[in-house]
Amino acid sequence: MKKLLTLLFIFTASLVKAQVKKNTFHVVDSATLKPIPAVNVSIVRAALSITTEKDGIFSIPGDLSTMRDTVLLYTQNYSSVKMSLFELDGLDTIKMQKQEAIAEAAKLKLNNDTLLNNYNRFDVGNYVGLHTGNGEFKYLQIAQRFETNRAGTVLKNITIERLAFYLNKFKEVPPSNKNGQYEYTELEHTRFKVRIYDINPVTGGPGKDLCDKVIEIKSRDDKKLATNLTKYNIVIPNKTFFIAIEWMRDYTNMGYVHVWDKRGGAKAHTNYRPAIGLAPTTGNKLNIWALSLNQQWSLYTYHSPDFTDLAIKATVGY
């Protein structure tokens, strides 16, 4: 198991020298002192962000006492932690406080289904999460707003379209085979979390979590990711709710995107897979929201007005 994850990616990896101090931190539950897995760690002004592995360990190289940036830690079901980098100097553990669990709703008898945000998957050709024009895509989550015609429905299943290509792979075979290896193809791997939010009545964007269970989707064999959520019994209290993709900003999902700029040159940006499809049907209202590195939700306008919705379908029962 990889034991540490550094905040310095490829662009700064070459600057890391043996003599630079490495500050390692353990993110733990404040009550149990057990490691918290998959914590997002963002350094706000430097616009760097990673997700820790299961052991909740991350490290920041350099002299922290001289750093003036802000570090922000967040993960599902815990209160966010915001600190100045110099405050981390001398620490090796960061405690996060668990939020109150969401009260389990009574199981409802569902007689009818409604499919929301329907589209034809063959018409999905544009994707979000790659870049933002000339800049890197620096968002932690992307959310689709859904509207039902009644409150109190139950979210039964969701379908998400992602961008994925088949890759040629080679596998070694036993020495008895003269060829030594064979070639096969497989779809790009990815894993990410799904978050379900109530509406924030002030901003109109995503608000409180409606599910405190971690919904992690791992996919290897399809671009269309259909997930049955019935077992979570997610009751939607209002007519509006949000389904969000939370990227796991780890090395498995990390990749590069080359984008042409208006002067005819190409720039390489880091991105995290999967890129999420845009629904081919255009509505009269933008329903896509994005969560920035400093954890602010805002409408995501890069693809509008041509695209107003993500290629995420949801079925609710009532």
């Binding site: 990889k2 034991k3 540490l4 994850l5 550094t6 310095l8 990616f9 490829i10 990896a13 890391v16 020298k17 043996a18 630079v20 490495k22 190289p61 034809n120 998957r121 063959f122 018409d123 050709g125 544009n126 994707y127 790659l130 870049h131 024009g133 961008l163 290509f165 088949y166 890759l167 193809t185 790009e188 090395y251 990390m254 990749g255 590069y256 995107v257 080359h258 984008v259 042409w260 208006k262 002067r263 005819g264 190409a266 991105n271 890129a275 081919p280 890069y302 693809h303 041509d306 695209f307």
Partner: protein, 336 residues
């Protein structure tokens, strides 16, 4: 008796199922008039056995999405005034052109309708030139990475002609495999928006100068041969020489993701050194992807060099003539 019926049912299912493939299948292409090569609107396209049906749009383009397909099914294409065309689904090729032969009565009508107006098609190309031939061993598109504008020179028989129709060959995004049997290396995106310009010719420099006409074009299908009917625009060409230009727009709607393979960071080791592995990289390219006309050199397909001047521009103002430019599928129909 019941057992016998059940057995019959099983036998029937066993006979039917092998001919049935589940999962959605897409059949798409263009229905064209075999005589004129123009797209035929409102042609009915039906899968005979499963009864899935659709009709063609103004470019003659159709897209039939079948929830399941019988392997012994037949695509039937019909249109009033044309002979019905039948094609077994096993003979379907992606983005197929289907030529409908006019019935005799239709031909007679065309003859009666002839007028004294002269028509000239400059730089004509046919559907076979833009057909999706995945085995063609050359990169079948105009380079989209010029990120600017491209202009092709035309010469009319006389000055003062009317530009009535423009034809353009466009390559659908998923049609760029590395080899015949390879998987697609681009995302598929049928949407594109670009600017179509008609420009005057500078007699001194030979470059495009003034815009006579500009149209914002939005395409939302995978038609390979696009027809722009400009009759209503009354575009009068003052000189014999003129240009038709395409201007790319760097907007999200035009984005296609192209797959590239390269080294990526796999992780950071305990000693702080970085480990690498081979992985996918994405490259954003912009539509439209124009078709370069092919030529057969006796052993393989090669891109054809243009006989007329081709110009490029980054900003639409300063133009540079391209040396040994490839011939792009772009034609002009003039009336005079």
């Amino acid at each position: 008796m019941i057992n016998l019926n059940f057995k019959h049912l099983i036998i029937m299912l066993a006979m039917i199922l092998p001919a049935c493939t589940f999962g959605q299948t897409v059949y798409e292409g263009q229905v064209i008039n075999a005589e004129t090569e123009e797209g035929l609107m409102y042609a009915t396209v039906t899968l005979l056995k499963t009864k899935h049906a659709t009709s063609s749009n103004y470019q003659g383009y159709f897209r039939l999405i079948a929830d399941y397909t019988m392997t012994n099914d037949t695509i039937v294409v019909s249109h009033v005034g044309f002979k019905t065309f039948r094609l077994p689904v096993t003979g379907y090729q992606p983005n197929i052109f289907i030529k409908l032969e006019p019935t005799s009565s239709q031909l007679a009508e065309v003859t009666v309708g002839a007028t004294k107006v002269k028509k000239a098609v400059i730089e004509k190309f046919n559907h076979s030139d833009v057909k999706d031939l995945r085995g063609r061993a050359f990169y079948p598109t105009y380079p989209y990475n010029i990120v600017g504008s491209f202009a092709k020179e035309f010469e009319a028989p006389v000055a003062g002609t009317l530009l009535s129709v423009i034809h353009l060959g466009r390559r659908a995004a998923y049609d760029i495999p590395f080899s015949l049997m390879d998987f697609p290396r681009t995302s598929s995106n049928k949407l594109t928006r670009f600017l179509l310009h008609v420009m005057t010719h500078d007699s001194l420099s030979g470059a495009p100068v003034k815009r006579l006409f500009t149209k914002v074009v939005t395409l939302n299908d995978n038609a390979l041969r696009i027809t722009f009917d400009l009759t209503k625009e009354r575009i009068v060409l003052p000189d014999k020489k003129f240009f038709i230009a395409i201007e790319w727009l760097l907007t999200p709607i035009n984005e296609i993701v192209q797959l590239d393979i390269g080294e990526k960071v796999a992780g950071v080791k305990k000693d702080n050194s970085t480990s690498f592995e081979e992985g996918s990289r994405y490259r954003i390219i912009y539509q439209p992807i124009l078709v370069i006309l092919p030529q057969w050199n006796g052993s393989s397909w090669q891109p054809r060099l243009s006989k007329v001047p081709i110009w490029n521009s980054k900003d639409g103002l300063k133009w540079t003539q391209v040396v040994n430019a490839y011939d792009v599928a772009l034609s002009a129909t003039l009336t005079y």
